[in-house]
């Protein structure tokens, strides 16, 4: 048996029924046998109708429902996430504000402290200045008094000397007025 013969004999049954079917109804294409149509149509209607009923009554509402539910849930979760984000941003803003506030307060306290310290310092300075000025004035007064005192004593000594000199020279006691005027004349000349 050659290969060709085998293939031909294998293909023969494939071709034969089609050729027969093309002629009259009978053992040809089973699809063309109209006597089977009512049964096929009947069972198609029954089975397709049943499947449609199952789908519309049970499957599709529940499947659609769960898909819808999931979509809602995801949308909700997104909303919630946005809400959380908003809250976090608020908290951050509040924190920033508190921080700025604290900084400002710290600055204020620092400035206040500095000012009060400065005031205290100035006060002390003033006090010290006053004390120094007072003791300076007292010292000056003392110096002036001593100067006056010394001048008076010098004048007295000069008068004494003058009197003594005059007594020695002319043996006459000059009047104090004369001594005074003489001393004044010398003092003016000096």
């Amino acid at each position: 048996m050659s290969l060709v013969a085998i293939l031909v004999s294998a293909a023969a049954p494939a071709a034969a029924p089609v050729v027969e079917g093309a002629g009259e109804a009978g053992p040809g294409l089973p699809q063309m046998d109209a006597s089977t149509y009512p049964s096929q149509l009947f069972w198609l209607a029954v089975t397709f109708g049943f499947l449609y009923w199952i789908m519309t009554s049970f499957v599709l509402p529940r499947l659609g429902g769960v898909i819808e539910e999931r979509r809602d849930r995801i949308a909700d979760d997104f909303d919630q996430a946005a809400e959380f984000k908003r809250k976090a941003e608020e908290a951050e803003a509040a924190y920033e504000a508190a921080l700025a506030d604290a900084k400002a307060r710290a600055r204020a306290i620092a400035a206040e402290t500095r000012e009060s310290l400065n005031e205290e310092l100035a006060e002390l300075q003033r006090e010290a200045d006053a004390r120094v000025a007072a003791s300076l004035a007292a010292a000056e007064a003392r110096i002036a008094a001593m100067k006056e005192d010394a001048a008076a004593k010098v004048r007295e000594a000069a008068a004494e000397v003058t009197r003594a000199v005059v007594e020695a020279l002319i043996d006459e006691t000059p009047t104090p007025e004369a001594v005074d005027s003489a001393l004044n004349g010398v003092a003016k000349a000096a």
Binding site: I6, A10, P13, P30, S39, L44, Y52, M55
Partner: protein, 263 residues
């Protein structure tokens, strides 16, 4: 010797009555075709009912698959018709799942030695089944089209912007094209299923013949075997694709009914 009594490639489409039934004079016997329709509906219903048993917010694999199917068809309907088309969603979904399941079930190999009539059967390889589904879709289009638009639905045959002298010709063409819709819809699915299964069967016959030829040519049977593997993969794609095409075309035709005025 199972398999060596190779049946003709058309025998797989044979309708075999299993339980004789009749409604008056009409024969509605439970046939192998009916059995496989029942299996298809049972399988898909069981799948979807199991998938929705726990309506989990985080779905398991079963529920995920069901949701993918739901979203797939829902997007198809919304894309072709728009949001108002969602009222047809249950129908399109059922149609898609029914055809898809029937197509896929037909690709299961027959258990060797199965009794006569209990071989794997593809219900969608019968023109009367696909034609009935096509007529159902077109009927919905026509009924809803007239219900929604009244006689305005007839504008479907007269596209706007056509010169008046061309109108009779255009109307004729549109009318013929409208009539051919159920035919193209049903023949496309039926012919795809038929051809795929015939090819599978022919390859299978080659294997048996070559194997029976003994040592000289027996080893050659590996080629049709590889052919079967390839065609089966292709048929898996076709099974899905044809269900999709049927559903999307139904959506496109329904769009005509929903928006009859503008096109």
């Amino acid at each position: 010797m199972i398999g060596l009594n190779a049946a003709g490639p058309m025998e797989q489409f044979e309708i075999v009555p299993l339980v004789p039934l009749s409604l008056g004079t009409i024969d509605i016997s439970l046939t192998n075709s009916a059995l496989w329709m029942i299996i298809a509906v049972a399988v898909s219903a069981a799948f979807f009912l199991a998938a929705i048993r726990r309506r989990a917010l985080v779905p398991g694999p079963l529920q995920s698959t069901a949701e993918v199917a739901y979203e797939f068809v829902a997007d198809m309907v919304r894309g072709a018709i728009g949001q108002e088309g969602m009222k047809f969603f249950p129908y399109v979904f059922t149609l898609f799942i029914f055809i898809l399941t029937a197509n896929l079930l037909g690709l299961f190999p027959t258990i060797p030695g199965a009794p006569h009539g209990l071989h794997t059967f593809t219900t969608t390889s019968h023109i009367i089944v696909t034609f009935a589904l096509a007529i159902l879709s077109i009927s919905i289009v026509i009924v809803y089209g007239f219900y929604k638009n009244g006689l305005g639905f007839l504008k479907l045959f007269a596209p706007s912007g056509v010169p008046i002298w061309l109108l009779p010709l255009i109307v004729l063409i549109e009318f013929v094209s409208f009539l051919s819709r159920p035919l193209s819809l049903s023949i496309r699915l039926f012919a795809n299923m038929l051809a795929g299964h015939v090819i599978l069967k022919v390859f299978a016959t080659f294997i048996v013949m070559l194997f029976g030829a003994g040592a000289t040519f027996g080893w050659l049977s590996i080629f049709p075997f590889l052919g079967i593997v390839a065609v089966t993969l292709l048929e898996l794609l076709v099974a899905f694709l044809q269900a999709y095409v049927f559903a999307i075309l139904t959506c496109i035709y329904l769009n005509d009914a929903v928006h009859a005025g503008h096109h």
